[in-house]
Amino acid sequence: MTFLQPLILWGLPLVLLPVIIHFINRMRHRPRQWAAMQFLLAATRSSTSHAKLRNLLIMLMRILAVLALLIFLARPLIGGWMGWALAAAPDTILLLVDRSASMDSRVAGADESRREYALRMLADAAGEFEHSSHLVLLDSATRQASELPSAASLLEWPDTKPTDTAADLPAMLQSALGWLIENKAGTAEIWIASDLQASNWKPDDPRWKTLITAFDSLPQKVRVRLLATTQESPGNASISIAQLSRQQASGKGEVRLAVDLNRSQANAGTATITRTLNDVATELEARVTGQSTRWRHRFAVGDQAGGWGKLELPADGNPRDNITYYRYSDEHPPSGLVVTESALGPLWQAAASVAGQAGRTPAKRYAPGDVTPADLRDATLVVWQAPLPEGEMANALRRFADEGGRVVFFPPGQPSTARFAGLGWGEKQTSGDADFAVGRWDEDQGPLANTDEGLLLPLAKLGVQQRQQVVGQAAVLAAFDDAQALLVRQALGQGEVYFCTILPLLAWSEMGDGLVVVPMLQRLLAAGSRRLQRDSVAECGQVSAGDLQLEWTSAETGLRGDVQTQAGVYKNGDRWLLVNRPAAEDEFERVEDSAVAGLFGSLPFQLFQAQRDDTALQGEIWRLFLFLMLLALLIEAWLIRPSSMAEVAPLKPQPAAA
């Protein structure tokens, strides 16, 4: 319970007033000579316990009436949002509004989104405090604090409009903490409106612990109230592009897309997708099964320069996640570079060859001692089967990866203490009677993903007799049954570094048949071509600081666009910027209530579940206390009422003579 006029609560000792008056009254008794003492004594004796109880009740009612009057004057607020604990209105209320794309899901049975609902509820609730507290907005997209002139302005405030960003709750709380410290705020409350999306809340993030400790150590008391907009939503589907590559197929240029379709329903069916390519819309159909489907799509672009477009789903529960943009760049032929001294050189060259109009061009090959940083200039993929590079070459290779190139290291056969991107080669292992079997690999993305036709790469049939361990921490894309890695990936800038632990030699494995190694290297070759492109790709809200400095024009509308919050394809001179909604925003997973409460540790925390709780966050309940006061006074009046006339009446009249 929160009070809008908490100063009145200083008058709470006044509840003792009836008791004090009672004792003063008793002290002020008058002496009275009394004749009918025998009846008075008998009455006192027989009515002692009853009278005591009645006196006690009368006193209680008087105290209750004073208490209710004081609480009524203090204007209490109550509701699922406020709880019942007594508290005064805070000096500052920080409104943390989740503006992520998932917050634009429609609320079932209502003509508003979760974000609109949350804003309306927050504005209503904050309206009670706008004269007693500072209202400060801190939105998930900008994480910039701005003081609101009134609670109602929240609804129209620019920083509460929908975005295509993801929210980072720990970062928002970090900003809130910073604001509180910087502004030396007094008592504060943090009101959070969010849909509890797990990818936004990051419950496993180590920042939570330090954040809560920091809040605890603040000199002022901070209370957290969470409005969880977890209402039911109508059916929803989202679309995002996982991969895009421009390739030459049969001498013609084509764009290949791997599109992820996520749906709240699991039934099989057909999804209608509208593909827009350079302002020309085409309606496509995709077969979907289960909640998550990867749909592969390719379309010919010939030799034309780069282009852009978007894929769009029909309107559904969340209009915000129905569009994904893509941009394919000008033709930049990929180029492979093989660094090895082994006999596998030709094989690597063939596997990393590039198809052109004049047939396939094998990758260039260098000996480790001959390769120079200049040789990397036009390369998109480097296959390195030699001791790990060191010195200037290592730096050049790091820059190459940082720019978007792909590097694949194959085992040199000898353990080494050298490291590249935190990874190095360990011991070589030989299998016993049974080969090392590949247990699992990432079939959805990466170089070992399924083919466009949905076919698995034959890793399961791959017999491996020898392997060389990888030392260091990296994402495992494929692993053996014994959990040892087959292929690991380390992100480095815009590029990626891979360590493959087997060789396509018969003494090592059956990878030499090319069914795995060729698609793997070809995919990396295509992915690495991004290095040569001048296009920037970013997730909404994660646009680099350098790009943010530029003035971007939306390719779709021709107007200046906000690349930080709105997805789209943007242009600045001859530079392009593709901004898409973060893929994590399409996940439907939510954090449990108990887990959320656990995140805030010892901080006073109040959760309001919009789905479960009342429709109002809070309400002034002075009427209740006014009613209570009147009730207490009525009961008191009833208790102190004179004895009924029926008892007294017979005593009064003059009786008739006997």
Binding site: R26, H29, Q33, W34, A35, M37, F39, S47, A51
Partner: protein, 302 residues
């Protein structure tokens, strides 16, 4: 201790209004001289009583010769005897009679009743006496008919002061034993004593064939018990005191009082005593007028 009121005990206008109404006994009285009241004996009044057979020794002058002529039998025609009234006014002078309400003290009210009653009785030729009951002494003035006797009664009444515990019950028993001849006993008291004992005493008087009239004097405050704040009640006949919130005990107090009053009235009705509850807010003249009227009506019916 309240001072005696400066108001005279007998007010001319009150007795003036009451003098037209004789005070009659409800039962036959035994007086010493002829009077207006019925006697248990046959006498020579004009009021026919009965015929009875002549027995030797009867005065033959009282034979009804007409009946003898018709029936040839000797009958005596008897007439009611009429005698004078002997009235004892019993005045309770215990401490509780000093209770002072809005309308004066109870004792002053009782004194005026006693004085007016004595005046009326003596004025109609009957004998009035006074028994003043205090804690230690009982002042008894035997019934006399002469006018100077009234002054004695008035002087005694004037000296009466409320004090101590009541000895009404033993004094009534004593009176019942002492007054052998039938008389009218008028009791003026608040009756704040043991109800059963009082009942026995009243019954004793009635057993002696006395005509009994009990004026139960109560102040309206004692009935209503209306106080707006805590009060320390001090017993007027003892040293006991009690601080209480009157509102909390009022109902029970009234219930106790009602029970007591009801029982006393029922007891009086049971042995045909004339019970009169009098609240002190009523003018005593009005109370006396009612008393006399009731008596006259009763005598007429009889």
């Amino acid at each position: 201790m309240p001072e005696p009121s400066a108001q005279p005990l007998i007010e001319a206008d009150v007795v003036g209004r009451l003098m037209g109404q004789p005070l009659l006994a409800r039962f036959p009285m035994e007086g010493s001289v002829s009077g207006h009241h019925r006697s248990p004996h046959r006498g020579s009044s004009v009021e026919f009583a009965e015929y009875r057979n002549y027995v030797p020794g009867d005065d033959i002058r009282r034979l009804d010769w007409r009946v003898f002529a018709r029936t040839d039998r000797y009958y005596l025609k008897e007439f009611e005897a009429e005698t004078n009234l002997r009235c004892y006014v019993v005045l309770d002078c215990s401490g509780s009679m000093g209770f002072e309400g809005e309308h004066g003290t109870r004792l002053e009210y009782a004194k005026r009743l006693a004085a007016t009653l004595s005046y009326l009785i003596i004025n109609q030729g009957d004998a009035a006496g006074l028994l003043q009951v205090t804690e230690k002494t009982a002042t008894e003035i035997p019934p006399r008919r002469n006018a100077s006797h009234l002054q004695v009664i008035l002087d005694t009444l004037g000296q009466a002061r409320p004090t101590g515990e009541t000895r009404l019950v033993p004094m009534l028993h004593e009176l019942a034993e002492k007054a052998r001849r039938r008389a009218l006993v008028v009791i003026l008291s608040d009756c704040f004593c043991d109800g059963d004992a009082l009942r026995d005493a009243l019954q004793h008087l009635r057993f002696q064939k006395h005509d009994l009239a009990l004026f139960h004097l109560l102040d309206p405050l004692e009935l209503d018990f209306e106080f707006d704040r805590p009060v320390r009640f001090v017993d007027m006949e003892g040293s006991q005191s009690i601080i209480t919130e009157p509102a909390t005990v009022r109902a029970e107090y009234q219930a106790q009082l009602k029970r007591f009053l009801g029982k006393l009235r029922d007891d009086c009705h049971e042995f045909n005593a004339d019970y009169r509850r009098v609240t002190l807010d009523r003018p005593y003249g009005e109370v006396m007028a009612d008393f006399l009227t009731e008596r006259s009506r009763h005598a007429t019916r009889a």
